[in-house]
């Protein structure tokens, strides 16, 4: 699938801060979202991802740039005539209407007849497993149920694109995991293109077909979760996506010398990475790629903390100038003690050089 369904071309948007400064929420962003994909926009708060989502929805108008949906230019249309719908972070359920009336509202606006509306309302409620709750008021529902109503309300409109603005951030962890799976399943069932905004990288990884990582109004990296995880383009992405040990070192002919800690051989650095012959480089190594090897490792340090989390044991190792974290399996390997000096090295091909 390479055809462009939702195309964002050179979109920029600046805000004036109360202090009089200018913030570039979106800085010449271009992006292609494919039909039927689960697209995630990820980044820390203030990175522009929500502004872009609201620009697609029509709740915000970009200063420049073009947004095209299914061949139709939409950036100059008002929100009410765009074939997209939003699930809001706050849910934004109408408190004076019942669940059924909330869902029917959008259909009424389209002028859909009563019978059809009733059917679509009940279908939407079925889809989100809330059958029979249509007479309730939003205030009588739990947070998770309200979330589902918001989803049903947007889905009932059968939009070409469903925009989700951090919809799960208010839910507790367990409920959030459940909803993640459910959303993913819903997206596959309906085939609707989902554009999902989140600042939670784990959520992004587990749900997105593709992820766009935003920083300061720009897209830093756009790729599949696996690629972004395995091949972060810079230290920001490496650090933001998953846990990463970033080690600053000096390149030599054989590898990278880490001040105070030891040496990283070229053989453990991924072959697609270019290691210069000299100068300073930053090496990124995922904690699960560090292996403690009795005495034979190229890096050395003192164990500062050993934390058992269930699935893994997190070992914090002090290299003198910096600290690294290694994840060990919680059983089957020897776990070093606190204060013990250990030697360790990255797995082959696991370390990457990253642009700072």
């Amino acid at each position: 699938m390479t055809n462009s369904f939702l195309n964002i071309a050179n979109v920029s948007k600046a805000f004036t801060t109360p202090e009089g400064g200018t913030v570039h929420a979106l800085d010449d962003v271009s992006l292609d979202i494919r039909e039927g994909e689960f697209f995630v926009m990820l980044g820390p708060s203030g990175c522009g991802k929500t502004t872009l989502l609201r620009s697609i929805a029509g709740l915000e108008y970009p200063d420049s740039g073009v947004i095209t949906l299914d061949g139709q230019r939409i950036d100059d249309l008002p929100a009410y005539s765009r074939p997209v719908n939003t699930v809001f972070q706050s849910y934004a359920l109408f408190p004076h209407m019942t669940v059924g009336q909330n869902i029917a509202f959008g259909l009424e606006m389209e002028g859909i007849n009563k019978t059809e509306t009733a059917k679509r309302v009940s279908d939407a409620l079925d889809q989100v497993s809330l059958s029979g709750l249509d007479k309730r008021k939003p205030s009588q529902l739990s947070g998770g149920q309200q979330q589902r109503v918001a989803l049903a309300r947007a889905l009932a409109k059968q939009p070409k694109v469903l925009l989700l603005d951090e919809p799960l951030s208010a839910l507790d962890l367990k409920l959030r995991r459940g909803m993640q799976i459910e959303l993913k399943r819903l997206q596959q069932q309906t085939g609707i293109t989902f554009v999902f905004v989140t600042h939670d990288q784990e959520e992004a990884m587990s749900m997105g077909d593709r992820i766009a990582v935003f920083k300061d109004g720009k897209i830093v990296q756009l790729d599949t979760p696996q690629e972004i995880y395995r091949r972060p383009v810079n230290s920001f992405v490496a650090d933001f996506i998953g846990e990463t040990n970033l080690l600053d070192g000096i390149a030599t002919a054989d590898g990278v010398q880490v001040p105070g800690g030891g040496f990283i051989a070229r053989s453990v650095i991924a072959s697609d990475c270019v290691v210069p012959a000299s100068g300073s480089v930053t090496i990124a190594i995922r904690p699960e790629d560090l292996k403690i090897s009795d005495g034979s490792g190229s890096l050395k340090g003192i164990v500062r903390d050993v934390i058992f989390t269930g699935e893994t044991v997190r070992v914090h190792i002090d290299l003198g100038t910096t600290e690294v974290v290694a994840h060990l399996p919680s059983y089957g390997v020897r776990v070093p003690d606190r204060g013990e000096t250990v030697s360790f090295s990255p797995l082959d091909q696991s370390a990457r050089t990253v642009a700072s």
């Binding site: 719908n85 809001f88 359920l93 109408f94 606006m109």
Partner: protein, 300 residues
Amino acid sequence: MSKIVRGRPGQTSPWLAIPTIAYLFLTIGIPLFITVVYSFLQRAKIGMGVTWHFSPKAYKDLFILENLDGTTTFDTRYVKVLWHSFQYSAVTTVATVVLSIPIAMWIATRNESTRNILVAAVTLPFWISILIRTYGLRQIIDDNGPIGWIAHKLGYENFHIIYTPIATMIGLTYVFLPFMILPIYASAERFDFRLAEAAYDLGAKRWTVFRRIVFPSIRPGVIAGIALVFIPALGSFLQSDMLGGGKTNMIANVIALNFTQARNWPFGCALSVLLILLTLLLVQAIRLISKKFGDQVSLV
């Protein structure tokens, strides 16, 4: 033995309400009682006041007119005055609602410091005596005032507002506007504007967003405002007196007349009782309406 403190924190002792209750009893309860009692008495032969002889004449006089030619007919004069008062108050209420909603919404969407300044500005007229304000308004809408001057320049030779029912209603609207703006603002300030965005997103146009989403949310404020405007407007007399040219009588003007020039206190009291009963009826109606919508209206 230590004293056990009953009640939850934040709960005040019922004894603290006693001064207020006593005050209200003294300032509302007793005068109300006197009004009702006096309405069933006879007038004093001389001077002001009443004599202590029971008489239902005041109530009879509300509706039955003994004509100067000796015939007796149904007296439409007071019904008519009441109807006019009702009309002026209704128009005033509608005008204040229409004027208040945009301004209240606008204030509610400003940032906090601007909001505080604007709310203070709304209450600014209270700093000046209502008499002086009404007098000022009279200068403005007078034929020789700025409005008349503009109308004249525009070629409306016969333009005339002052001393008409319209002037009375302009005066009432002017005086009661803050009483509508403030409760609507209080509701609008609590309104979650993301709801309006959601409605917009679901395909609703501006007017529909207002009608279906915004208005139901500010409705408690509107209903409270109606109670705060319509009922006092019904009992107003200053505006009809000063701006209506004394020709657009409201019920309170007739009541005042009976306490002064006509010196018929029992009749003035009977008219007051009638007005109180009508007001009670209105309050009940407003209550029922707000109940129907399931709104929380704190003022009625």
